[in-house]
């Protein structure tokens, strides 16, 4: 049996239905020299994650049409390939109960809107410090 090749994944899944925020996050992720894999809503993210788990992190908007960020995280927590991926939830919610529920469901970090480029960069680095060192190639 050949030894399975491993490499550090530089891909970050970004799911947000708002084109403004989506573009902003994509630019910020790429500025940090990661590859942003961008989808427009939770359903697209769900479909992609079913066949592709090679991400070093995921960034979800909390409220999206079809499938919300929290639903995605619950799905990811049931799949061993996906549960290792740290998730950053971006939200303009200020309800502490909702935030607590999100952490319970498996969110790694929260970033409230609005955020600055500096806050995003710091949060992303913190998020990625939690990831496994290596991920299998897809």
């Amino acid at each position: 049996m050949s030894k399975k090749t491993q490499k550090v994944s530089r891909r970050i899944l970004v799911a947000d239905d708002d084109p403004v925020i989506r573009h902003l996050i994509t630019s910020l992720v790429e500025k940090e020299q990661y590859d942003a894999v961008v989808v427009n809503d939770g359903k697209e993210a769900y479909r992609l994650l079913q066949k592709d788990a090679n991400f070093c992190a995921a960034i979800f908007d909390k409220i999206m049409p079809h499938l919300q960020g929290l639903d995605l995280i619950r799905f990811m927590s049931t799949d061993e390939r996906l549960s290792r991926i740290p998730v950053l939830m971006i939200t303009s919610e200020r309800d502490l109960q909702l935030i607590a529920e999100s952490f319970a469901a498996g969110v790694t970090l929260f970033l409230p809107k609005p955020f600055t480029a500096e806050q995003f960069k710091f949060t992303l680095r913190l998020l990625l410090s939690n990831r496994p060192a290596f991920s299998e190639t897809a």
């Binding site: 708002d18 925020i21 573009h23 409220i63």
Partner: protein
């Protein structure tokens, strides 16, 4: 890039820009320091990020305002609030403060006469967007389109 019907909507809104919005919160319409702070995330060789954000915001806001107006006609409270929530997120993120404030008011409206209040707030939002558009388009022009 905005579609022609959206540009028409935008031009219609801008031409009716009032000096002030009916719901004046005292905060400035656009905190340009927030918007231009994203210049530091500009990637080499890529189009101007701030300019792209301005274009996306203008196009998306027209779409959301039209959607809210339709939802109001249909008395669809959920769609109004979803659109307001989305607009609050993008507005606050780009430093478009008063618009974010009005969206927040609309999201929080829970009264029986919600649709009457929503109608007033939507009117305020359209007035405010006219002001915001002028400021953003001026910034767009300053950046050399």
């Amino acid at each position: 890039m905005a579609m022609s019907s959206e540009i028409d909507d935008l031009q219609r809104l801008i031409t009716v820009a009032p000096e002030t919005t009916d719901l004046d919160t005292g905060c400035e319409s656009v905190d340009m320091a927030v918007l231009t702070s994203f210049e530091e995330s500009q990637l080499d060789g890529e189009p101007d990020l701030v300019l792209e954000l301005i274009d996306l915001y203008l196009t998306e806001t027209v779409r959301l305002l039209v959607a809210m107006r339709e939802a109001l006609t249909n008395k669809d409270e959920l769609s109004i609030k979803r659109a307001a929530h989305s607009l609050r997120g993008s507005s606050s993120s780009l430093g478009i403060l008063q618009m974010a404030f009005i969206c927040d008011e609309l999201e929080r409206t829970e009264f029986k006469d919600m649709f009457a209040i929503a109608s007033e707030l939507l009117k305020c939002m359209e007035q405010e967007f006219a002001r915001v558009s002028q400021i953003l388009l001026a910034e767009r022009q300053r950046r050399g389109e």
